[in-house]
């Protein structure tokens, strides 16, 4: 079977982002961009399933501007067979992303779509669930263990109460949690090899996706700062300070 992996490019997780003083957005010019960490985990899982013989082909998909192609090359260097770049200059909502993935799913007929559980820029945590709904297929979100056999995925999910295991008939959508795996590093020879792997570029406008966005972001602000704290010298000082605040 084929596996489609969502591969979003985001501001690197180590960057301390700054809100623009006029509240129009966050500063992204000249800031380091990387793969969304959860998407690296998604790609790693797909590659492991290919190595086990469960899948034959792994396709990385990115939605974004023209220079996103370079980012998709990283996914190919990590081991994906090919890439699809859905080109658009506009920011897309999770619903538009899900509708876009659905078009690609209809064309490619994958057995599995693996996405990260959330992107670390918009922190939405929606796209995988929305795709599963539109496709009318199972979803296994926040996966920390995946086993595929006999047309079924048995997935352990990280939920608030502990670990939940569910069984889903394929095709299905899985979203990855942090503990699913440890993504591999990209090796130099693989970067060279990736240059000859195919990347299909399609215009978002040509897919017939309804990209209307009924939620608009009108203002960005820095979070409220906490007031400066005090240091105490020993356990007795800490207990006294907490008692004074009525917390002990």
């Amino acid at each position: 079977m084929k596996i489609i992996v969502g591969y979003k490019r985001v501001v690197d997780y180590n960057v301390r982002i700054q809100v623009k003083p006029d509240g129009s957005g966050v500063v992204t010019d000249g800031v380091k961009l990387s793969a969304n960490p959860f998407d690296d985990i998604a790609l790693e899982e797909a590659l492991r399933l290919r190595e086990k013989g469960v899948a034959e082909e792994v396709i990385v998909v990115g939605i974004g501007p023209a220079d996103l192609t370079a980012h998709l090359r990283n996914g190919l260097a990590m081991g994906a067979n090919r890439a699809i770049h859905v080109q658009t200059a506009d920011a897309v909502s999770p619903l538009t992303a899900a509708r876009t993935f659905l078009k690609l799913v209809e064309k490619e007929q994958p057995g599995l779509v693996i996405l990260g559980k959330q992107a670390i820029d918009d922190d939405a945590n929606q796209t995988g669930q929305m795709l599963a709904a539109l496709w009318d297929r199972p979803q296994a979100t926040f996966a920390s263990k995946v086993e595929i056999a006999e047309g079924k995925a048995t997935v352990t999910r990280e939920v608030d109460a502990g670990l939940e295991t569910i069984e889903a008939d394929l095709p299905a959508v899985i979203t990855t949690d942090l503990r699913l795996n440890e993504p591999r590093f990209i090796k130099l020879p693989d970067i060279m090899k990736a240059k000859s792997k195919p990347i299909d570029v399609v215009e978002l406008g040509s897919l017939g996706v309804d990209a209307a966005d009924h939620i608009k972001t009108t203002h960005y602000a820095a979070p409220a700062k906490r007031s400066k704290g005090v240091m105490v010298n020993d356990a007795a000082g800490l207990v006294a300070a907490l008692k004074q605040k009525g917390l002990l």
Partner: protein, 313 residues
């Protein structure tokens, strides 16, 4: 006219407190009605609990054998059907709500507002992005259904003095059988629930081992606190994952948060930013946790925690 449908979260026949927090957010939108929907195989006891929440107009109890476990693929078509006639659908921003609400939103053909921190108006909300390092205001078109998850740490639980009527609701929805529950392994704990506790003590990599974590449990029990952990402590296998506090774990807002042996990565700080008082105990005086701590103490946790216990008496 605005009417809000709140999706009840429950487990083992008991209502989750996150539901009453979502009701508080619903009340802030000043709607004409707030109804709670309970989907279960046996919703009666849960619905009775939900009916007590202040501000609730009525409780809709949907009893179906398929609802024995909270599978999003099974619940979403029912919620989407029940949503007709409502201007808003709210769910708590727990793993339950995050799994279910986007599936409902997609069936209704709308995007979702994730992790609502404040309600500015019936169609205007604030939510965090970039791990809480920026707060955005989002406006939803007045003509479309608002589907939102409510960041539980930002809202108090509505009180339970109410007495709303409970109505049985039967929904004509075809449910899929392609997704099946296998089992749930729950972390067993007699301690207060991490997300609802007034006091939380968390341990990090500095605790050093699973065995050493006993010192954290002992201290937490002394002050009646829930126990949490940093991602480093979870990844090192000291404690189970459901104890993780942070961007990718639980986001909490206790009155008192005591971070022990936690350096304070951005990912962790996101989970505790709204705590009333943050205390940091760390042997490294340069650790980033001290930048946000209200009270800091530099020193060896293995020496300080026993001293604290005897000082408390």
């Amino acid at each position: 006219m605005s009417k809000i449908l709140v999706i009840a979260e429950h487990l083992d026949g008991k209502l989750n407190a996150a539901t009453a927090r979502a009701v508080s957010a619903a009340a802030a939108a000043k709607p004409d009605a707030i109804d709670i929907i309970v989907l279960s195989d046996a919703p009666e006891a849960i619905a009775a609990e939900a009916a007590k929440i202040d501000g609730v107009t009525k409780v809709l109890a949907v009893a179906r054998a398929e609802n024995a476990h909270a599978l999003a693929a099974v619940l979403a078509p029912q919620v989407a059907k029940a949503a007709a006639g409502y201007s808003h659908v709210f769910a708590p921003s727990t793993t339950f709500g995050k799994d279910l609400a986007p599936r409902v939103a997609a069936l209704l053909g709308v995007s979702q507002v994730s992790d609502v921190m404040t309600v500015e108006g019936p169609h205007s909300f604030k939510r965090p992005i970039y791990a809480g390092n920026a707060i955005v205001t989002v406006d939803v078109d007045a003509g479309s259904t608002v589907v939102a998850t409510i960041r539980t740490a930002s809202w108090p639980a509505a009180a339970s003095n109410g007495n709303a009527p409970v109505e049985a609701l039967s929904l004509d929805a075809t449910l899929p059988s392609h997704t099946r529950f296998v089992n749930l392994q729950q972390g067993k704990s007699d301690r207060p629930d991490l997300q609802g506790a007034a006091k939380v003590v968390s341990g990090g990599r500095g605790v050093g081992s699973k065995e050493n974590f006993e010192i954290i449990y002992k201290f937490a029990d002394k002050i009646g606190a829930a126990v949490g952990a940093s991602r480093a402590a979870v990844d090192a296998g000291y404690v189970p994952n459901e104890m993780q506090v942070g961007q990718t774990g639980k986001i909490i807002a206790p009155e008192l948060y005591i971070a022990v042996g936690i350096s304070g990565a951005i990912q962790h700080l996101t989970g505790i930013k709204d705590a009333g008082t943050i205390v940091a105990i760390n042997k490294d005086g340069e650790a980033p946790i001290f930048e946000i701590a209200d009270i800091g103490l530099v020193g060896d946790l293995f020496k300080i925690l026993p001293e604290l216990e005897s000082a408390i008496g």
